[in-house]
C-alpha cells in the first residue's frame, strides 16, 4: 500500500514536472517568436519614422528624432496612392474572376470520379509550382501579342491565374467534405438542381470559399513577378513600388514606409482569418459521424 502511494506520488510529480516544462517551453517559444517577428517589424516602424532632417546613422542606437516626414514624402511624391488603388482594385477583380472560374471546376474535382482526375489536379497546381519569373517573362510575350500587356484587364487575368490554384484546391476540399447523405437528403426532400446549388452546395462550401477568397486576395496583393513584367511601368502595385525602393533606388526610410503600407492590411487579414477558421461549423457539426 505504501509502495503504491509512493509510486503514485512519483507519477504525479513527473506529470507536474512535465507540465511545468511544457509551460516554460511555451513561454520561451513565445518570447523567441516575439523577437523573431516583432523586432524586424519594430525596426521598420522606427526607420519609417526617422525625421528627414535628423538622419539615423551609426553609432546612434535609436533615431535622434521621430516624425511623419517620411510618410508624408512617400504619399506626396511617390506613386503609392496610385499603386494602392491599383492593388486594391486588382485584387477584388481577380478574386471574383477566380471564384467564378473555380466553382464549376472544383465541383467536378470534388464530387465526380472522372478519369484523369489526378492529371487535372496536377494542372491546377502549375501556377504554384512553375517558377514565377519564367511564367511572367514568357507569358508577357503572349500578352504582348494579344495586347494584354500593360493593360488592366491583362493584369486581372494574370492575377486570376495566380489565385486560381488556391481557390480550386480549397473549394475542391470543401466539395469533397460534403457528405453525400446530405445531398441525398435534400434530393429526397424534393430539391432540384438549382435548389441543391443554392441551398446546399454554396452554403456548405462557404467556409472554404471565404478561405479561398482570402488566399486569392493576399496572393494578388503580394503578386510581384507577373505584375512587374506585364504591368509596370503603366501599372504599379505596392510590391513593384517596394521593389523600386529596394533595388537600385534603395532608400531605407522610404522602403520602410512602403513595407508597412503593404504589411499592415495583411496582418489585419491574418487575424480575421484566425477568427473565422475557429468557427468552422462544417467540421463541428459533422464531428459526431
Amino acid at each position: 500500500m505504501a509502495a503504491t502511494k509512493q509510486k503514485n506520488l512519483w507519477y504525479v510529480r513527473q506529470a507536474r514536472r512535465k507540465r511545468r516544462f511544457t509551460t516554460l517551453l511555451t513561454v520561451f517559444f513565445i518570447l523567441v517568436q516575439v523577437l523573431w517577428v516583432g523586432v524586424p517589424i519594430f525596426m521598420t516602424v522606427l526607420w519609417s519614422l526617422v525625421d528627414p532632417n535628423h538622419p539615423w546613422s551609426f553609432p546612434n542606437i535609436l533615431p535622434e528624432k521621430l516624425s511623419w516626414g517620411q510618410w508624408m514624402y512617400v504619399f506626396k511624391y511617390t506613386n503609392i496612392l496610385r499603386a494602392l488603388k491599383t492593388s486594391y482594385t486588382l485584387a477584388p477583380c481577380a478574386v471574383l474572376l477566380s471564384f467564378l472560374f473555380s466553382l464549376p471546376t472544383a465541383y467536378v474535382l470534388g464530387r465526380k470520379q472522372i478519369p484523369g482526375k489526378k492529371f487535372f489536379q496536377t494542372i491546377v497546381l502549375l501556377p504554384i509550382i512553375m517558377p514565377g519569373m519564367v511564367v511572367a517573362l514568357f507569358l508577357s510575350r503572349v500578352f504582348n501579342a494579344f495586347g494584354l500587356a500593360q493593360n488592366f484587364f491583362g493584369l486581372v487575368l494574370a492575377h486570376t491565374l495566380m489565385g486560381l490554384p488556391y481557390m480550386i484546391r480549397v473549394l475542391t476540399t470543401s466539395f469533397e467534405a460534403i457528405p453525400q447523405d446530405v445531398i441525398d437528403a435534400a434530393e429526397n426532400l424534393g430539391a432540384n438542381t438549382f435548389v441543391k446549388i443554392k441551398d446546399i452546395f454554396l452554403p456548405m462550401v462557404r467556409p472554404g470559399l471565404l478561405a479561398g477568397m482570402i488566399f486569392a486576395f493576399t496572393t494578388s496583393i503580394e503578386e510581384f513577378n507577373l505584375t512587374f513584367i506585364i504591368g509596370t511601368p503603366t501599372f504599379e502595385t505596392i510590391p513593384t513600388i517596394l521593389y523600386s525602393f529596394l533595388g537600385y533606388n534603395f532608400i531605407r526610410t522610404n522602403a520602410s514606409v512602403v513595407a508597412l503600407i503593404m504589411m499592415i492590411p495583411n496582418i489585419i487579414m491574418l487575424f480575421a482569418v484566425e477568427n473565422f477558421l475557429k468557427s468552422d461549423y462544417l467540421s463541428a457539426s459533422l464531428g459526431k459521424l
Binding site: 517551453l25 511555451t26 517559444f29 513565445i30 517568436q33 523573431w36 517577428v37 523586432v39 524586424p40 517589424i41 525596426m43 521598420t44 526607420w47 467564378l100 472560374f101 473555380s102 464549376p104 471546376t105 467536378v108 464530387r111 465526380k112 470520379q113 478519369p115 487535372f120 491546377v124 502549375l126 501556377p127 509550382i129 512553375m130 517558377p131 514565377g132 519569373m133 519564367v134 511564367v135 517573362l137 514568357f138 507569358l139 510575350r141 503572349v142 504582348n144 487575368l157 491565374l161 486560381l164 490554384p165 493576399t218 503580394e222 510581384f224 513584367i229 510590391p239 517596394l242 521593389y243 529596394l246 533595388g247 531605407r252 522602403a255 513595407a259 504589411m263 495583411n266 496582418i267 491574418l270
Partner: protein, 284 residues
C-alpha cells in the same frame, strides 16, 4: 463521392478552371521552349538553332547561377524544415498558450516576400540589431558582414523566416493525422523519446516533410525578388540572370534557354518527390 455516371458535361465544367490555367501556363511554357531554339522568336528572325543552348552550357556565368540557385534552394528547404519540425512537434497538442504561439508564428505567412526581405535586411546589416546584440553579448568582436554575403546566407535566412509558417502548416497537418494511440502503442512497447521521434513521428510525417521540402525548394530555386534584393554581388540567381538577359540585354532566346532549365529542374524535382512519396508511403 457521387457514384453516378460521368458525363461529358463534367469535362466542360473543368474548362473555366483547368482550361484557363492550361491556356496561360501552357502557352508561356510553349513560348519558352520554342524561343530557346530560336523559333517564334519575338526579337527578330525566327530560325531553328541550338546555338543558344550551346552558348549557355559553355558559359561559366550561367552555370554558376544554376549551381547557386540549386544551393540556395537546397539550403532553404533543409533550413526551414530544421526550424519548423521541432516547432510543429511542440505545437501538436494545443493549449491556450500554444494557440497564441501558433498565431504569432503565422504572421510571416501574410508578409509579402519582398517585405520579408526588407525586414531581414534591416536586421542583418553591419550595425543592425543582430550584430549589435552579438557585439553586446561579447560573442563577436567585429560585426559580421551578412548583407549580400557571397555565400548567400542572407537569402537563406530570409527564405527561412518567410516560409517557416508555411512549412509549419503542412507539417502540422501531417502530424495531426498521427493518432495518439499510435504514439501510446509505441511507448507501451518500450520506445523512448528518441525512438518515438525517429521511428514514429518522422516516418509518419514523411509525406508532409517531402511536400514542404519540395515546395520550399521550388520557391527558393526560382526566386527572383529576394535574390535580387539580398543576394550576393555574384552570381545572380538563375531567375535573376534570366530576367536580366531578356529585359536588360534583350537576348530573349538565351533567356528562354535559362527559362527551360528552370522549368525542367522544377519538374524533375517534382517528379522525384512523387516517386519518393510513393516509396515512402509504400504505394505503387
Amino acid at each position: 463521392m457521387e457514384r453516378k455516371n460521368v458525363s461529358s458535361i463534367d469535362y466542360l465544367l473543368l474548362i473555366p478552371g483547368v482550361g484557363f490555367i492550361l491556356l496561360f501556363i501552357g502557352s508561356s511554357i510553349f513560348i519558352t521552349i520554342t524561343q530557346s531554339f530560336g523559333v517564334l522568336s519575338v526579337t527578330g528572325k525566327s530560325q531553328f538553332t541550338i546555338e543558344n543552348w550551346k552558348a549557355i552550357f559553355h558559359d561559366k556565368e550561367s552555370l554558376d547561377s544554376i549551381l547557386f540557385s540549386l544551393k540556395i534552394g537546397l539550403l532553404s528547404s533543409v533550413g526551414t524544415l530544421l526550424f519548423a519540425f521541432p516547432v510543429a512537434l511542440f505545437l501538436r497538442k494545443g493549449g491556450s498558450g500554444k494557440r497564441f504561439l501558433a498565431s504569432l508564428i503565422k504572421i510571416p505567412l501574410f508578409i509579402p516576400a519582398l517585405v520579408a526581405a526588407f525586414l531581414i535586411i534591416n536586421l542583418i546589416s553591419y550595425h543592425g540589431i543582430v550584430n549589435e546584440a552579438l557585439l553586446a553579448l561579447g560573442i563577436i568582436k567585429k560585426p559580421l558582414r551578412m548583407l549580400n554575403d557571397k555565400f548567400g546566407w542572407g537569402v537563406v535566412a530570409i527564405q527561412v523566416w518567410k516560409n517557416l509558417p508555411f512549412v509549419l502548416l503542412i507539417l502540422s497537418s501531417s502530424l495531426a493525422s498521427i493518432r495518439d494511440d499510435t504514439i501510446d502503442a509505441a511507448r507501451n512497447l518500450g520506445a523512448g523519446t528518441f525512438s518515438v521521434l525517429f521511428r514514429i513521428y518522422v516516418p509518419l510525417a514523411m509525406p508532409g516533410i517531402l511536400v514542404s521540402m519540395i515546395l520550399m525548394f521550388i520557391k527558393a530555386f526560382g526566386d527572383f525578388a529576394i535574390m535580387s534584393v539580398a543576394g550576393p554581388t555574384y552570381p545572380p540567381s538563375i531567375a535573376l540572370r534570366m530576367r536580366n538577359t531578356a529585359t536588360l540585354f534583350q537576348e530573349w532566346d538565351k533567356a528562354a534557354v535559362l527559362g527551360v532549365i528552370i522549368i525542367l529542374t522544377t519538374l524533375f524535382i517534382t517528379w522525384l518527390y512523387s516517386r519518393l512519396a510513393e516509396f515512402v508511403t509504400g504505394r505503387k
